[in-house]
């Protein structure tokens, strides 16, 4: 599902990162564990194709995304990749439900109200659907970010430090939610974190 070979990235005039090869079979989940400052976010951006690699190749599903032009890459990412960022990003002018509608609409033009409502229910956001994003609590925003990552049933979901600000109980809950939702969406889940607490949930781990 996700396969990388000889991946390297260098910021202009700064340090360069070499990443270990990844080979993830479909339906499997993966934890990428490593301390701060070794380019974890960079790796996630490389894998999701929002940052072009300096060298090496990345294959997602059966598509070599490092070989795609920008337009095809945008399309491919929109349809097949789900992203959960460390900092949450939403469209502030839209309410919670509209944010999810928007994610469903691009680029596959799906309209699936039932899936949105089921997902919101599982994530405890049912009562929040008509609210503005800015009215949500921190925890609700986190769950909305998860919803955003999986609502369009991507092939693979990348999550960047999803547990960094959570206590132990919530940490377990969020990781479980992520795994459950990924399973329901039939997506592979790739979590990248420095948080050791997450490691117990994953059999498949790569330490960076």
């Amino acid at each position: 599902m996700v396969k990388t070979v000889g991946l390297n990235f260098a910021y202009p005039g700064e340090q360069s990162f070499n990443f270990p090869d990844i080979d993830l079979v479909p339906g499997e989940h993966l934890l990428l564990l490593g301390p701060s400052g070794i380019g974890k976010t960079t790796l996630l951006h490389l894998l999701s194709g929002i940052l072009p690699a300096s060298a090496g190749k990345i294959v997602i599903d059966t598509t070599e995304i490092t070989a795609l032009d920008r337009k095809s890459l945008d399309k491919f990412r929109g349809a097949n990749v789900g992203l959960i960022f460390q900092q949450y990003h939403f469209i502030k002018s839209l309410n919670v439900d509209e944010n999810l509608q928007l994610r469903q609409h691009f680029p596959k033009k799906i309209k699936d109200k039932e899936r949105r409502y089921r997902l919101a229910e599982r994530l405890g956001l049912s009562g929040q659907l008509k609210k503005k994003v800015s009215q949500l609590s921190q925890g609700q925003q986190q769950r909305l970010a998860i919803a955003q990552g999986v609502i369009h049933q991507p092939k693979v979901v990348f999550a960047d430090e999803p547990t960094s600000n959570l206590d132990d109980t919530n940490c377990d809950n969020v990781v479980q939610l992520l795994k459950d939702e990924a399973d329901i969406s039939k997506s592979s889940l790739v979590i990248i974190t420095h948080d050791q607490r997450v490691s117990q949930h994953f059999s498949n781990q790569i330490v960076l």
């Binding site: 929002i50 929109g78 939403f90 502030k92 002018s93 928007l102």
Partner: protein, 423 residues
């Protein structure tokens, strides 16, 4: 959930910013559409009013005033002329028709015009009901005047002296009876109460006799005798005829030569003056035209500044929404779609501004209409957008498109990875 909806939501997400960036555009569109409509409608209406009349002959004074008062009925007359002098022009070979008009009274601000049947014909006015006047103190009422005054056939009203509604000098002993109502013509005739010339003479002869010539009680008897003489002796009728006055004579030429010769002849050889409505109105519009051009110039300048303000507002929006735009890129939207998103927002903004401005312009027109109606009896029509306004909308949208293209260069340089990682 398409781009247009998203653009709309983005646009209204900060109402105060929206108002600020629309203000100038609204102001400019209001000014331009209002001035365009006003000058167009006034010109059209005036053209229609002066069309049946080639020349006005009246008392000496300002020719423009003569035209404004006798043709458009929005000014006071220059004075009176003798009927027999006016009649001498009637017989000139170049003159096609010559209609005497006499006025000086009003009913609740609507002018009472003494004239002949030909006046109706010249404006193509036809009866909606009733009949034309046959004797003195029978009035045929124009459609707007009838509507405003609530006059119906058979109604009786008394005129008051002067042309303003505020006049208290009422000719109570000579009430008019409404005998006919006119169809709307879209000309000045809609605003008039029309009777025969004799009505005006009689009403005023009586006033003059009562107040000036025969102030004493003992003369009342003589007065009666005089009227008796009047009817029996032909000489005296002629004498009286010489004293009869009208306000002006409305002339239509038979031959274009009349236009060349008659005005000069009248102005040089008689106590009267001849004024050409077409010429005078053109002169007036030339003066007003400078004002219209100036206001339009100011409005266009405001429009350009408003384009700049839309540009600044979009630039600010794009900077503030950098992360959202980057997020949309991860959703699979290419730079072209993001550009389209901003374009939609800019166009919506411009369209909304235009719409509000246009509506305000029409509102101003309604205000101007009620002012003009109470002051001058002119009614402006409130119509849908015309061709010029559609062109103006096009210009506005074009300015918005330029503003978007200038503001959106940063979209092409957007670094998704860096933008999303920034807190």
């Amino acid at each position: 959930m398409n781009l247009i909806y998203l653009a709309y939501r983005n646009m209204i997400s900060k109402p105060l910013n929206l108002v600020l960036s629309l203000l100038l555009l609204v102001l400019s569109v209001t000014l331009v559409t209002f001035i365009l409509q006003l000058s167009k409608q006034l010109n059209g209406q005036i053209d229609k009013n002066i069309d049946p009349i080639d020349m006005v002959v009246g008392a000496k004074g300002s020719p423009l005033q003569l035209v404004l008062s006798s043709v458009l009925h929005i000014d006071v007359p220059t004075g009176n002329i003798k009927l027999d002098e006016a009649n001498s022009i009637k017989n000139h070979p170049f003159v096609g028709s010559a209609i005497p008009v006499s006025y000086g009274d009003n009913y609740k601000g609507y002018r009472i015009l003494g004239t002949e049947f030909a006046y109706f014909e010249s404006y193509g006015a036809v009866l909606q009901g009733g009949r034309y006047f046959e004797k003195s103190f029978e009035a045929v009422v124009g459609s707007s005047a009838a509507k405003k005054l609530g006059l119906k056939i058979g109604d009786v009203f008394t005129s008051s002296h002067g042309l303003l509604a505020s006049s208290t000098d009422v000719h109570e002993d000579h009430p008019y009876t409404v005998v006919g109502l006119l169809e709307p013509t879209g000309t000045v005739i809609d605003q008039l109460l029309i009777c025969n010339l004799e009505s005006i003479w009689d009403a005023h002869a009586h006033v003059d006799e009562n107040h000036e010539e025969h102030p004493g009680e003992e003369h009342d008897h003589d007065h009666g005798d005089e009227e008796h003489d009047h009817e029996s002796h032909g000489d005296e009728v002629d004498d009286h005829d010489k004293e009869l006055e009208i306000t002006s004579l409305l002339v239509k030429f038979k031959s274009p030569l009349g236009l060349v010769q008659l005005p000069r002849f009248i102005n040089e050889n008689t106590n009267m003056q001849a004024a050409l409505p077409g010429f005078e109105i053109q002169r007036l519009m030339g003066l007003l035209g400078t004002g219209v051009t100036t206001i339009n110039g100011i409005a266009i300048a405001i429009l350009l500044v408003s384009g700049f303000s839309i540009f600044i507002s979009l630039l600010k929006t794009i900077r503030e929404r950098r992360q959202e735009l980057a997020l949309l890129r991860t959703y699979g939207l290419g730079t072209q779609k993001l550009l389209r998103l901003v374009l939609f927002e800019g166009l919506l903004l411009a369209f909304l501004g235009f719409l509000f401005g246009w509506l305000l312009g029409r509102l101003a027109l309604i205000g101007a209409s009620s002012y003009l109606e109470s002051g001058y009896g002119y009614v402006l029509q409130i119509k849908g957008p015309d061709l010029v306004e559609f062109l103006f909308l096009g210009v506005t949208l074009l300015i918005a498109i330029v503003a978007v293209l200038l503001a959106s260069t940063s979209i092409f340089k957007l670094n998704i990875s860096k933008t999303l990682a920034d807190v």
